[in-house]
Amino acid sequence: MFDLILQGAPLLFTMQTMLLIAAGIVGGLVIGVLPGLGPLMGIVLLLPVAFHLPPIPAMGMLIAVYIGGSAGGSISAILLRIPGTPLAAATLFDGYPMAQKGRSQDAIGLSITASALGGLIGGVMLVFFSPMLAAFALRFGPPEYAAMALLGLTTIIVVSEGSAIKGLLTGGLGLLIATIGTDEFTNAYRYTFGNFNLTSGPNIVAVVVGLFAISEFLFQIGGGGFLDTPRLQKLVISFRALRLIASHKVNLVRSALIGTGLGAIPGAGGDVSAFVSYAVARKFSKPEDGYGEGAEGGVVATEAANNGCCGGALIPSLSLGIPGDASTAVLLAALFLLGFFPGPELFRSNADVAGGIFLAYLTGNVILLILGIVLVPFFGTVLKLKKAWLLPIVLLLSTMGTYALQNSVFDLYVMLVFGGLGFLLRRAGYPLAPIIIGIILGPVLENNFRRSLLLSRDGPMIFVERPISATILTVVAIMLCYIVYTLVRSGRQDTAS
């Protein structure tokens, strides 16, 4: 574990990497502050930039955006009662009442401090558990990897927003999109329709940018209010929160651990962990703490959990290649683009890169603690940015970022098509995250599925003959039964009503 850190240190502690992590934290906070955008959007927009950088600076910057974006959403939740991201929805309960009592400075300070410290606790768990999980995964063969890919996809579908059947459909769509291009085994062209640009499949960055950035752009236009600016309380730099948080030590550690634990379950996500840890903190509180009326503990619980969740989500992502949520799926895509394959091999063959990523995550949280507090007045200004300026900038960055990857205008058409698809699916209540997870896990699933059949003498029986894959598939089967049960139950309830 410490070997990894030592090997990664020289890659991390360079001026370029540190500056990019700091830039990522600021960029993430800015994008998290802006309602409607979030860490995923930040990662998506900077993904093409990362492609032009060395691996550790690139991953450091993207991870910093992930951390900053997860923390930034609380600022608009506290000041405007509009969570910048779904992750900060639970921060409303006490953050906004604190602001109403004239304590917005304390609430923002506490949220940033709890986010950074929660993230650091999540980071320690990441450093501790990832190598252990990766070492266990060395026992995996193709059947186990195929089963794990299926488990990752199923879990995300079960817990994702919207109905499970819609999640299954979009997850399946992602798996099909992943098959477009040249088949690895036969070198045949699949579903390319004779288009040379599709022989390597659709560019994943174009797909991600289209699904999330372009569809969001269209949604934001629909919302109107291009020239609106909110009225805000005056904000100044204050380190008082560092003293205040000392009286919430137990709550902070407990919430960060809940966040990390739930984050490590693919699909559970920061919003779920924030609500769960808030409920737990409230249960352990005294009536005079006044939860729901501006309790400091409420802000600490939710923010420590949703940033602890980032570290948790990186555990299965890095050690197994199974993304914990849509943001980590895009981080994995970045790792692929940079030439590294997450999983046990990353820890064995590229230990310096794995160690560098761990350190980047920990460093990002330390920088968040400092910059997050120092830049509080700046975030107030960011919140006043008019949509009329923001939307064209997002569109241009999405477009040029996608183009820059391969200097391809075709990728821009792919982006536009997926933007339209993303808009349509969101309008119809389909979750988009399973598409990305499906695209990431698709090749893992197909390659290992076909390799397993090749190894097997009994056809598909190989998946149930091996204990680890049989266990994983049993869990998948239980989840699928749960999906069917919820579908049948919701149908009966509708009929009764």
């Binding site: 769509l173 085994f185 699949r190 236009i221 339209g420 349509l424 309008r427 209540g429």
Partner: protein, 162 residues
């Protein structure tokens, strides 16, 4: 069940059914012609996508029944509002921009796109014009200057920071 009340659900249903059907059709045509639609796991490139496609067809069938029975989260009608035409216009403008990007280049097309968008979103003519040029040049400075990306130069071979 009125079709209009669940319009987005139905459109999404058609799209999500069409995609696996296209895959199954390609399996029996293109992949068959290439000789990779049968045999063992090494030679059968159609088996796995075919399996996924069939699962999606079945799921789409179930989902269609759910929409018909009104057992979805809520209606999804196509509502037109004051910004609907703006959204459609923006998409059309962006398509024109993409078509013009390669022949005319980044530096001629992007300031125009941005200026039109900024004006459409309510900024004054001069603010939109100057803002469009400024944002376009700033983004070009990042991509051309810092990241050494060759942005589309067009028939006039225009670059500013390259």
């Amino acid at each position: 069940m009125p079709l209009r009340s669940y319009a987005y659900d139905w459109i999404a249903w058609v799209v999500l059914l069409a995609i696996p059907l296209i895959v199954l059709w390609q399996n029996t045509t293109s992949l068959e012609e290439q000789g990779v639609a049968g045999g063992g796991p090494m030679t059968d490139a159609a088996m796995y996508p075919g399996l996924i496609a069939w699962i999606l067809v079945v799921l789409s069938g179930v989902n269609g029944v759910r929409i018909l029975a009104g057992r979805v989260a809520g209606p999804s009608p196509i509502r037109t509002g004051p910004t609907t035409m703006l959204a459609i216009g923006t998409v059309l403008l962006f398509v024109v921009y993409l078509l013009a990007l390669r022949p005319l280049g980044y530096h001629l097309t992007t300031p125009v796109l941005l200026a039109v968008l900024l004006r459409a979103f309510g900024l004054s003519f001069w603010t939109a014009l100057l803002g469009g040029v400024a944002v376009s040049l700033t983004v070009a400075a990042v991509f051309e200057g810092l990241l050494n990306v060759v942005l589309p130069v067009g028939m006039f071979s225009l670059t500013v920071f390259g």
